[in-house]
Subunit: 234 residues, 2 copies
Amino acid sequence: MQLPLFYEALVAEKDSLFSLSNETQKHAIQVLRLKEKDAILLTNGEGLICKAIITSIDKKQTIVQIDSYERINLFEHKTCIGISLLKNPSRFEWFLEKATELGISTIIPIICKRTEKQHFRYERMKTILVSAMLQSKQAWLPELKEPILFSNVLEEHNYDLKLLAHCNNSERKFLNNFKINQNTILLIGPEGDFSEEEILLAEKNNYISVSLGNNRLRTETAGVAAAVMLKLNN
Amino acid sequence: MQLPLFYEALVAEKDSLFSLSNETQKHAIQVLRLKEKDAILLTNGEGLICKAIITSIDKKQTIVQIDSYERINLFEHKTCIGISLLKNPSRFEWFLEKATELGISTIIPIICKRTEKQHFRYERMKTILVSAMLQSKQAWLPELKEPILFSNVLEEHNYDLKLLAHCNNSERKFLNNFKINQNTILLIGPEGDFSEEEILLAEKNNYISVSLGNNRLRTETAGVAAAVMLKLNN
């Protein structure tokens, strides 16, 4: 895909003419200096990629004509990472970018007993996902949930395999030994790890304790390492 | 290890008394407010961890008495990542931090045909490695080389398995299918990837072309994903 790719949540196969959002118009026309008759790609972040031709440009709006479609299927199983918010938001943003590049399907920011920071700027985080998706030329935008309490994430029902990564000395299986052949959710705790009570509560809720290896990793590093392993075995 | 861990390149088993470096002294005494008789851990970044007791504190120097030793062996094979410098240094620094946490043994910044940035602040990068080593409670500091030209990295002789990660459509084996049971070097290119000529040159020098998966990853993401896979199969 050599054509520039843009995110348009509302673009749909049926459309023949489509008016670009302000953001796309600004980037395509003012930054990239695209002209009428130039071709671009649009994705709705849900597997649809449209090739479109710019038909008219004016200050108010830029109209493109949808030329052809491609549907990218998500053949793999759903992979969800629930991860504690971090005191340093840029570390959390790094995780979001990398998880998107690696193709994780759902991200749930969680608030644990030892989570230090609970403020979360949803719109800013969303834009990080979008640019990571575009930069890595993907057509699927990970679903980003609003932060929820640890006890509530345990009630997520859409996953068949439920994993809890922690450094507690209890018996843990190595994540990389799991074949991810079903919808899977994996939880990662804050700096300082999950509390004993949280680990017990998760295990009561059919979560399996897993290890990410011998090294002691920062939360966002654990998140990226887990994303790599989940995708490797998917 | 609950005691605070500090880096002292010069600490050695034979020492009974040791004078802390200014940096360690500042952190231990001014930041952590440690007092005489408090215990700390010192590592030389080469597998040695010493438990030491603070015996005297004054403005000029802080003296500790080495109490006991532990030697952490690197039983695994050497893993080296040669990776292009990046236009955005914070992305390169992020890679250095994560590669250290994950336990990569050697990092070689490389300058390729399409490398955009060639400036490299060695001392700053070294401090990032040190704090990542301490933060992840490790006793081995990765060896950080000065940046070298791509053609020169091909002459590194210390590795039995030589891998080149790129996105070119030529035939590539999946990195995760390699058993890393020998000293291994893996090269990762800049944004825009290695040039055709660089790929051919590497293959002439017994490098095997590998893939890191189906997704198109940023250079630093590729570096971290590769680090995870190298350690998983080590």
